[in-house]
C-alpha cells in the first residue's frame, strides 16, 4: 500500500474523496467524522432503486496542519456525481458548525492570541450540485451551507479546492466562490449551469457540450486564474494543493480575506463593472477575454503546461490578493 508521502505525488484530479481528505492534512492526523462504519446513508435512494454509499458521497473530518486544526469536507464524484442530498448536506453543514464551535472555545481559552490557533475549513469540491433523487432536501442544504460560510466570515478561514474529475457545478458553483479563497488546478472546472443545459438553451452551434476544450476554456482553472476567480493555481497533485494550503495558513486572516472575489459592497461593485465589460466586449469565446486582459498569446494558452502558463500569464488587475 502507498504511504502518506507517496500520496503527495498522486494526481488530485484522480484521487478519491477519502484520499484527498487523509493526505491534505498532516500525516496520520485525519479523523473522519461520521465514517462509513456509522452507516449514515440516504433512505431516499433505495426507494428509487438506487445504490447507497456508506458515506453518502462526502468525507468529513478533522486533522491538523502545522499543529492547527483543519476541518476537511471532501466530495466524492464517483458516487452520483458528488451530488448533495439530505445526509451528505447535513455532514457539510455539521462540519462548519463544529469549526465555529471550536473557534469560540479557542478564542475563549486564548483571548490574546487566538488568530493563529483557530481552525480552518478546507472544502474539496467534486459535485454537480443538488442530488435529484432527493432534490428538495439537497436544495435546502445548499442554503444552509451558504449561511454557514457567511457565519464563518470574520472568524476563521474557509478555503475551496477545485481540481477533481467532476468539477464543481450547479449550486455548489456559487458555494465554492463564497469562501475566502479558491485554489484550483488547471484541470479544475467551476460553473453554475452545466454544459449540457447551456447547449439545450443556446443550441449546439453556440455551445457544444461534447467539446471538452471549449468547456475548459469557459470554466477551467486557467480561465478562472486569469479572471482572478481563483486566487492560486497549483499543479495537479495532492501535495500541490497541500503545500498551497500550508502557505495560505501562514498568512494573516486579513490577507486571506483579501483573496475573496465576492462578499463586500466594494467587491460587488467591482464585479458589476466586469459584467459591464462582458456587455461591451461581447466575447465569442473566453480567449477574447484573455486577450483583453493582456494575453497576446491567447491561442496558445489552452495547450500550455503549468510552468509555462504561470510564467507568461497576465491576469485581471485586482487589489489585495
Amino acid at each position: 500500500m502507498k504511504g502518506w508521502q507517496e500520496f503527495q505525488d498522486q494526481s488530485f484530479y484522480e484521487a478519491t474523496a477519502r484520499e484527498r481528505a487523509f493526505h491534505l492534512v498532516d500525516e496520520g492526523t485525519f479523523e473522519e467524522l461520521i465514517a462509513p462504519v456509522d452507516e449514515m446513508t440516504s433512505p431516499h435512494l433505495p426507494v428509487l432503486g438506487e445504490a447507497i454509499s456508506f458515506d453518502d458521497g462526502v468525507v468529513t473530518g478533522v486533522g491538523t496542519m502545522s499543529s492547527r486544526p483543519v476541518f476537511v469536507i471532501s466530495q466524492e464524484g464517483r458516487f452520483i456525481g458528488g451530488a448533495v442530498g439530505e445526509v451528505g448536506g447535513a455532514k457539510i453543514v455539521g462540519t462548519f458548525k463544529l469549526a465555529l464551535e471550536l473557534y469560540e472555545k479557542i478564542k475563549a481559552k486564548y483571548p490574546d492570541d487566538y488568530e493563529s490557533r483557530v481552525p480552518a475549513v478546507v472544502f474539496s469540491f467534486e459535485t454537480g450540485g443538488v442530488r435529484l433523487h432527493e432534490a428538495n432536501a439537497g436544495l435546502l442544504a445548499h442554503a444552509e451551507v451558504m449561511e454557514m460560510i457567511q457565519k464563518c466570515r470574520g472568524k476563521l478561514p474557509v478555503i475551496s479546492l477545485v481540481g477533481s474529475k467532476v468539477g464543481c457545478f450547479g449550486g455548489m458553483g456559487f458555494v465554492c466562490v463564497a469562501t475566502d479563497m479558491v485554489i484550483m488546478s488547471d484541470l479544475g472546472r467551476i460553473g453554475l449551469t452545466g454544459p449540457e443545459v447551456i447547449e439545450e438553451v443556446m443550441g449546439k452551434k453556440e455551445f457544444d457540450s461534447a467539446d471538452r476544450a471549449l468547456i475548459y476554456r469557459t470554466t477551467g482553472g486557467k480561465h478562472k486564474y486569469i479572471m482572478r476567480d481563483c486566487a492560486y493555481l497549483v499543479e495537479d497533485s495532492i501535495g500541490g494543493f497541500r503545500r498551497q494550503i500550508e502557505e495560505v495558513l501562514k498568512m494573516s486572516y486579513a490577507q486571506i480575506q483579501e483573496c475573496r472575489s465576492i462578499g463586500t459592497p466594494e467587491l460587488t461593485e467591482e464585479q458589476l463593472g466586469i459584467v459591464g465589460l462582458a456587455a461591451g466586449l461581447n466575447p465569442k469565446d473566453a480567449k477574447d477575454v484573455w486577450y483583453y486582459f493582456g494575453n497576446d498569446n491567447s491561442e496558445a494558452i489552452p495547450d500550455m503546461f503549468y510552468q509555462e502558463f504561470m510564467s507568461v500569464v497576465k491576469r485581471r488587475q485586482k487589489g489585495g490578493c
Partner: protein, 292 residues
Amino acid sequence: MSVQIMTGKGREAISMIMDEGSFLENIIGDYMQDDQIGPGAVIGTITIGGRAATVISNDATKGNPRFPVVYAGVIGMEEAYKMAIAVYKTIEADKDKPAGQKRPLILIVDSPGNGPGKVEEIFGMNKATGSYQLALTEARQHGHPVIAMIIGRAISGAFLCHGLQADHILTLSKDFGTMIHVMPLSSIARITKRDLETLEELSKTNPVFASGADFFYKLGGVEEIVENIEDMKAAIIRHIDEVYKLNQAGQSEQCGPWGRGLLGEERGGRTLRKKVLDQMETEFAQIENRYL
C-alpha cells in the same frame, strides 16, 4: 377573495403589499440606482404598515438588452448584482440604527432560474448569485428582517439566489399556480430513469423530491402558506414582527436556512438532518481536547 394568478406580476405584487403610492423605485436611503442596470430585477423602497422597507422583486415582463438570456423573470448577472447592491445599500442606510430598528427587506419571488449562457459562465454567473446570497445573510446578521414572498416560480438556483436566505419564506398556495421545485417530476423521472407514475405515487409520502408549496411546507422549506392574495400584506407584516421579536430574544437561530432545518424536523419532513448533526457533535466531543 379571489384567485388571481400572480406569476409574472412582480410589480403588481409590490403594489398589493405596500402602503398606497409609497414605492420609490431604484432608491434606497441616499442611494439611487441607474435604471438601465438589470431590468429583470426591481429594487426600491416602500412603506408597509407605516414602516419603510426595501423591496426586491423579479420583473418577468422585461428582458435585458445586453444579456439575451434574461427574460420571463430569469436572474442574470446584472440583476443579481443589482439585488446584492440593494441589500448592501439597505445595511448602509440603517448603519447607525439599533438592531431592533433595522428596516426589513421584502423579496417578491417569481423566477425560473439564473441566467444560463456562455457569457454568463465566462464572467461567472455563480459569483453574481453568490454575492446576493452573502449580502442577504449579512443583512440578517445586522438585524434586518428578510421576508420572502413567493408569488409564482421559485425554482432551483433562482430560489437559492432569491428566497432561501430569507429569515422567513411565505408562499401563495398551489391554487395560484405557484411552483417550487428543483426540477419538475417529469424531468426527474427522465434523469433518474424511473417512470413518472411510480414517482408520483412515491411523492405522496416522501416530500424530498416532489414539487410544490405543500411539500416544501412539510420539509420546513417555507414557513407559511398564504391562501388569499388579500392576506399577503398582513402576513408579511406579521412575519416581520415575528423576526424582530426572535432577533431581540436572541433566537435568530430559529430563522433563515438553519431555522428551516429545525422546522423540517418539527414537521417530520427532514428527520435525518438532526441525527447527522447530533452524531457529529458526539464523535467530535470525544477528540475535541486534542485541538484545544
